[in-house]
């Protein structure tokens, strides 16, 4: 049975389609404004007349590739191609500026391959059990999860917590423009009809990261406008693999976080990569150096968002509840091939579901050679372009991406406004990262908080927000996350005090 499925999955034509799908996905993922959902739904009509296995694998491998593709733009240009790649910029971009672009890109690749493979393996092995577990997350748990993601702001803005929190708050405030999630009433729209549609996330991120970045690069004198050195970094591969082995704890934890959060419908990639980044940073002995070019940061973010792929398919295949929109489109294809989600998928005698999962595993592994020999080599060429040409090119690409999200100049207007605003904020020391986190996580937190309050009111006790087993764990993690920077600085102060008398004696 398993052998039949393996034979189906390694047929040369199947392998070729998986490879094409993976590369196509990686390219789409790298283009800001183009999402994997767009790519796979555009291909749906092409897929319908195909053999079910081939059809599902084309969609699955695009999904897998896209989750990796967003990393390179994040590292090289500080542009998160999708919201999930936001934490990849935190350490990836500083690495590129230090001439360690190759190392960062290889780390993103290694993380994606590892996370992707683990995600699919978990999907294959625990399918039913984990799907049941994912249902135990109610609105209260989702709320605490997003709060946990938001505590990353505290970690990101060490040294100036006030400015970090101001940035996060601003991001949340901007995300509230539009219709509120419960009453559907327009908020902060200032009677301007376009604002009713809200601030679309991707144009906003393009503005905050890409336009603001271009504007500040114009500040520096012409001599400094040379691109950062790519660096030969002949030992980059060895270094990255070494880190992977040495920091197996990061790999395992990030994969687990990716799978778990991927399983939760509506939580998705950005929360997975943010929480994974935050946890990696917190458990690190030298957590303060995160944000300055720690390769572990890139590993954490990319491992988690590829592990999410397998995770998001768990509740879809076992229960018919897709973990995110990508999984929903794949569910649509699954149904149109006459396959029903549920445990019967595995035991229906066709072996297609098993072959699909094996194909996904192959897709995640194929990423390694495909990206190493093609995608990374192509991407790195970007850095050889002089900044004088690169800046306007980036602006054009970003504008096209922003336009495509809304199919109107409204997207470009959002991008321009947040770009100029983001540049001004940068000048007064408020960085894009906390604002972006607020924008991404704010709406989810608000929606789930509203739901939790409504349920609390119906049950007659506000304690229902906290007094639930999973909630309690999450609240504890939030507290830990907020307290860690404080405890660390207290420890430093104690240490200094202890050292101080000694040095006096020596004098």
């Amino acid at each position: 049975m398993l052998i039949d499925s393996i034979i189906m999955a390694v047929h040369p034509s199947v392998l070729l389609l998986i490879a094409l799908g993976t590369v196509f996905g990686a390219i789409i993922g790298a283009l800001p404004g183009f999402s994997s959902v767009m790519a796979i739904s555009l291909l749906l009509p092409v897929v319908y007349p195909m053999d079910p296995l081939l059809g599902l694998l084309v969609l699955g491998s695009i999904y897998m590739g896209a989750m990796y593709g967003d990393a390179n733009a994040a590292i090289l240009l500080n542009i998160p191609g999708t919201a999930s790649a936001l934490p990849t910029t935190f350490d990836g971009f500083p690495m590129a500026q230090q001439g360690r672009a190759r190392e960062a890109m290889l780390a993103a690749l290694a993380g994606s391959v590892f996370g992707g493979a683990v995600g699919v393996l978990v999907l294959m092995m625990t399918f039913g059990v984990l799907a049941e577990f994912s249902l135990r997350f109610g609105p209260q748990e989702y709320f605490w999860l997003t709060v946990l993601g938001l505590t990353t702001i505290a970690a990101l803005s060490e040294g100036n917590l006030v400015k970090g929190l101001a940035g996060g708050g601003l991001g949340i405030a901007i995300s509230m423009i539009g219709l509120d999630p419960y009453w559907g009433m327009p908020r902060f729209t200032f009677d301007a009809p376009p604002l009713v549609a809200g601030i679309h996330l991707i144009p906003a991120l393009l503005g905050l990261f890409c336009v603001a970045q271009v504007l500040s690069s114009l500040e520096s004198p012409a001599g400094d406008r040379r691109p950062p050195e790519v660096g030969r970094q002949k030992d980059a591969l060895r270094k990255v693999l070494g880190t992977m082995v040495r920091r197996w704890d990061v790999m395992v934890r990030s994969s687990a976080i990716g799978v778990l959060i991927g399983m939760l419908p509506g939580a998705g990639g950005p929360i997975a990569s943010t929480i994974s980044y935050n946890e990696t940073r917190r458990w690190d002995r030298d957590s303060r150096s995160f944000g300055t070019g720690r390769v572990e940061g890139v590993f954490a973010s990319e491992t988690a968002n590829n592990a999410m792929v397998g995770g998001s398919l768990i509740p879809m295949m076992a229960l018919g509840i897709p973990g995110n929109v990508n999984a929903a489109v794949i569910l649509g294809a699954l149904l149109s091939f006459g396959m029903r989600p549920g445990m019967s998928l595995i035991s229906d005698g066709t072996g297609i579901a098993t072959a699909f999962m094996i194909g996904l595993l192959i897709s995640s592994l194929l990423l390694a050679p495909l990206a190493y020999f093609i995608i990374i080599r192509l991407s790195i060429l970007v850095l050889r372009v002089p900044r004088t040409y690169l800046a306007p090119t980036i602006l054009i690409f970003a504008s096209v991406g922003a336009y495509s999200v809304t199919n109107s100049s409204y997207g470009v207007a959002i991008m321009a406004a947040l770009g100029i605003g983001g540049y001004a904020l940068r000048r007064i020391g408020i960085h894009a990262a906390p604002v972006g986190l607020g924008l991404i996580l704010g709406p989810i937190a608000e929606r789930e908080f509203t739901s939790s309050l409504l349920i609390a009111q119906a049950q007659g006790s506000y304690w229902t927000l906290v007094m639930r087993p999973i909630s309690l764990v999450l609240v504890a993690l939030c507290l830990l996350s907020i307290m860690t920077p404080l405890l660390l600085s207290m420890r430093d102060r104690m240490r200094k005090r202890r050292l101080a008398p000694d040095s006096e004696k020596q004098q």
């Binding site: 959902v37 767009m38 796979i40 739904s41 749906l44 009509p45 319908y48 994912s134 249902l135 135990r136 997350f137 109610g138 609105p139 539009g178 219709l179 999630p181 419960y182 009453w183 559907g184 009433m185 327009p186 009809p193 009713v196 549609a197 809200g198 679309h200 419908p265 509506g266 509740p315 076992a318 229960l319 018919g320 509840i321 897709p322 929109v325 990508n326 929903a328 489109v329 569910l331 649509g332 149904l335 149109s336 006459g338 029903r340 989600p341 445990m343 336009y403 809304t406 199919n407 109107s408 100049s409 929606r447 509203t450 739901s451 409504l454 349920i455 009111q457 119906a458 049950q459 007659g460």
Partner: protein, 316 residues
Amino acid sequence: MSRLIKTIGVAAALIGASVVQAAAEFPEQQITMIVPFGAGGGSDRVARTIDRFWQEETGQSFNFQYQPGASGAVGTDAIARAEPDGYTVGIVNLPNMIVQPVSGSASFALDDFDYIGRVNSDPMVLMVPDGSPFNTLEEFIAAAKEMPNTLTIAITGTFGAGQLAALQMMDAADIEATLVPTQGGANTAARIAGGHVSAGIIGLGLFTNQETGRALAVSSAERSDFAPDVPTFDEQGVTMDMALARVIVAPDGLPEEALTYLRDTLQEVTESQGFIEASREQSLGAVWQDGDALEDAVMSGQEQAARLLRQYGLIE
């Protein structure tokens, strides 16, 4: 940008006209289909299915344009404002489109459109989790009467089919419950299956894919072929009439020739065996309703929806 598209469109039309000698008949160029939601969503899938059989029928495919935002209000507005030449149509949801003008989230009105036809209809089901103490609608209603507002009902979004169905049920059965909106159908299903709410309202199509949970009632007039075991609300003494429908509309004032062509072709597509089969695969019931009947249904639907929303204080 739009000028560029127009230029390309004109060029394409010229080429098309020179190839096809009989150039006087509608359509002379490709028709644009506006989808007011993101690519890959439920509306997109229905639109793509229409496209597939439209191509079989006429040899022509649609040019898809996605204009998401404000639960579809942005794209629906774009349809209303398009040139009424028959070359722009759009797929919209009922009852969302009916409610948006009265809830203040849209700048269009229902008479800004020419109605081409309804293509499908997805009734709503009241679903409870596996471990629920309620086995029938009657038990659910009795409990809700005993403890007003303590039962929670998950619904998808605001001012959508789920919310209206919930309000209609509360009104008809004379009960009070707390409505808990979630972000998407999958999310609502997960909330119900996990037992985080007492019950929830989701589309029948989504329900039939579920492994867990059971349905207490379905909002259609008759039992559905997809779930023949689920009794209707009417059978159990609660008068209901609510479904999530997908309809095709165009801006108001289409030339007669274009309107007739679009209506006739859509009817042929919707009633074709292929379309019915493909809809069934997506657990959606293909239901044809012609433009005039649809327009009447939409207008009377708005009165009813406005009355319900006003009664529950959701609009002024």
